[in-house]
């Protein structure tokens, strides 16, 4: 048995040919494949091919205790793991009716925003690299690493934090942590002009990104686009504001949006979100010392914990868009069913396929990265 996509998908007419982008290809975010039918270097058709990162998460989670699943949830989307954790935990809390202490909620917001900053820095690097600009990636990774240092200090893990637990968070902040957060935020902010000079106001980049992967607002709504990609078409929608969770209602932040709906607009929205995230994180840092109290409400012994029967659908805004968990309990000690709705399930499949038709081969990778598609969310 040869791998199925090794063979040409169909016999193309003589003026057409097929090209596989991925799974092992630098123009693909992660382990994912995109099969193109090309005429010259114009794409006639694009077909997404997923499953390279399929682990059967939802199946695995049905076989593990509620608390054991904490460790597995962040692995669904690696660059931005915290929203995964938080939304799963929110679902469990909704099912159990747990009251999360306020301090824990603020800590979760801090994590979510730091994670968003890290994810955006990651995406900028990747996006720039698809256009041959590697320095952004080198800088972005180094600066993202500072955020990961904060995570390491707070949660004990650089990438997989496993810090949220139904009922709250696992530990309180270490001494002096908030100062270090503040310092890192200041540093990141001071770096923004450098990034602007290098990438965001770099005419070559602007020229490359403008008009690439353009979609109208109607198309975006039709295709189920969410998150920064939706906001780049002019719809100011953000789950944090419009379907608020945790303490986002108490926070002040703008929802940046753009009208153009192309790769450039999407990049700009993310760039502006970075500023907003820093702003939110600052508010948390300022507020946290005033919020005393526990970080976790009492929860039952994890080994003997059955969650009341019911179902919960919890949505959060990840760096990529609307992320949701549908968790069903039949009253047992393990979830009866979990279903994760990742934003990339739309972006990396339908949206990418549709945007690639008629696009140039040059722009495919850029389209994918500008959509910030995250293959593991598709594969699960």
């Amino acid at each position: 048995m040869r791998p199925e996509n090794y063979e040409a998908q169909r016999q193309p007419p003589s003026h057409e040919y097929e090209l596989n982008i991925g799974p092992n290809h630098p123009g693909i975010e992660g382990n994912y494949a995109f099969k193109l039918r090309l005429h010259g270097d114009t794409v006639l058709e694009g077909k997404a091919d997923a499953g390279y990162l399929h682990r059967g998460f939802e199946k695995l989670m049905e076989g593990r205790l509620w608390i054991q699943n904490l460790a597995i949830t962040p692995r669904i989307c690696v660059p931005d793991p915290v929203p995964m954790e938080v939304s799963y935990v929110l679902a469990v809390e909704e099912l159990c009716g747990l009251e999360v202490p306020e301090r824990a909620q603020w800590l979760r917001v801090l994590q979510l925003e730091l994670s968003r900053i890290a994810a955006h820095l990651f995406t900028f690097g990747g996006h720039a690299a698809t256009t041959g600009m590697y320095s952004t990636m080198f800088w972005g990774m180094a600066d993202r690493d500072l955020v990961l240092d904060l995570f390491e200090e707070l949660t004990g893990g650089r990438v997989y934090h496993i810090y949220n637990i139904p009922g709250g968070v696992r530990r309180d902040i270490p001494d002096g942590f908030l100062d270090r957060v503040k310092r890192t935020l200041d540093y990141l902010e001071s770096r923004l002009p450098d990034y602007d000079n290098l990438l965001f106001t770099n005419q070559v980049f602007v020229q490359r990104a403008k008009g690439v992967g353009t979609m109208s607002r109607e198309q975006a709504l039709e295709w189920g686009v969410t998150g920064p990609n939706l906001r780049a078409t002019g719809l100011k929608f953000d789950v944090r504001r419009d379907d608020p969770y945790l303490v986002y209602e108490d926070l002040e932040f703008e929802i940046p949006s753009e009208e153009a709906g192309d790769a450039w607009a999407r990049t700009l929205v993310r760039r502006k979100e970075l500023v907003e995230s820093i702003r939110i994180a600052r508010q948390v840092v300022a507020a946290l010392p005033k919020i005393r109290g526990t970080i976790r409400c009492p929860i039952p012994n994890p080994l003997a914990w059955s969650v009341p029967a019911g179902s919960a659908y919890t949505r959060v805004e990840s760096s990529k868009g609307e992320l949701a968990w549908y968790v069903v309990s039949n009253g047992g000690e393990r979830p009866y069913r979990t279903h994760v709705r990742g934003p990339s399930q739309m972006h990396a499949v339908q949206v990418l396929e549709k945007l690639s038709v008629g696009a140039r081969l040059e722009d495919i990778a850029q389209t994918m990265f500008s959509l910030d598609a995250c293959p593991p969310e598709v594969d699960r």
């Binding site: 048995m1 092992n24 630098p26 695995l60 990438v159």
Partner: protein, 256 residues
């Protein structure tokens, strides 16, 4: 100049070329090549799993792998190291094997994260392979879920040391015990599994034939052999030429 006559039957002990060098200069040369090999490692940047998230930091400014002469390469032909970053789903595993076979030797496989060792988090998942070394020889493992960039670098430095000493030669194992690896691959992918690279022919060509190269599993391979158009762009191997054209080859290799 003898012709390659027939495929040896399974179990036939074939004399393996013993690379004995008597010329001291040649030894110096070998040493130099080995040193160069250890100082210049091209890493195939294939994100097979979640551990790949720690590779960009390791490659970029903060941890800067280029200090060790390691840089990412995009094509398996160019790469020396195959980093298997965490779990490999069965679907990916096929590609990993194809990739591995396409790489030029000496090639090194690094298994990162728990998942490559014993299944890791996904030990009960129907979709992921559990032990990487069933399917291809692995040179070095780096523990962690996922290992930090520093750990990755430490692992790579270990590999560099091994290459420098000349002990990192598991890639030969793939040729010498191809039957074993192929067997495990067939167990998972079905017995008609085949790859576009003719490992047996390569093994013979480069004198890496071992007692375990052929066996009952490779016999299955022959049986299910389909004409592969990919063979056209394959190795310049006299034996293959001979087999295909039916003409005598002017190959450089003698039957050993």
């Amino acid at each position: 100049m003898t012709e390659v006559t027939k495929t040896p039957a399974a179990g036939d002990a074939l004399p393996v070329k013993t690379g004995k060098r008597t010329n001291p200069l040649a030894n110096v040369f070998d040493e130099l090549v080995r040193f160069a090999q250890s100082r210049s490692l091209f890493m195939l940047h294939y994100c097979t799993g979640c551990g790949a998230i720690e590779l960009p930091p390791a490659m970029t400014s903060r941890f800067d792998m280029e200090r060790l002469g390691i840089q990412p390469m995009v094509s398996p032909r160019q790469a020396d190291i195959l980093l298997v970053t965490g779990y490999v789903s069965v679907k990916t595993l096929k590609r990993v094997i194809l990739t591995y076979e396409q790489m030029n030797s000496p090639k090194y496989v690094i298994g990162i994260c728990s998942c490559t060792v014993n299944g890791g988090m996904y030990w009960q998942s129907y979709a992921t392979a559990k032990k990487l070394n069933d399917y291809m020889p692995v040179d070095i493992y780096i523990a962690g879920c996922m290992p930090r960039p520093e750990a990755v670098i430490a692992g790579l430095r270990g590999l560099i040391e091994d290459i420098r000493r000349g002990t990192a030669d598991t890639w030969k194992d793939y040729y010498r015990r191809y039957d074993h690896y192929l067997g495990n691959q067939q167990r998972l992918f079905g017995e008609d599994w085949q790859t576009p690279t003719d490992v047996i022919a390569e093994a013979r060509h480069y004198g890496l034939f071992g007692p375990g190269t052929l066996g009952e599993r490779t016999a299955l391979l022959e049986r299910h052999q389909k004409p592969l158009e990919a063979l056209e762009m394959k190795l310049d191997i006299p034996e293959l030429m001979a087999r295909r054209s039916g003409l005598g080859s002017k190959g450089r290799t003698e039957v050993k």
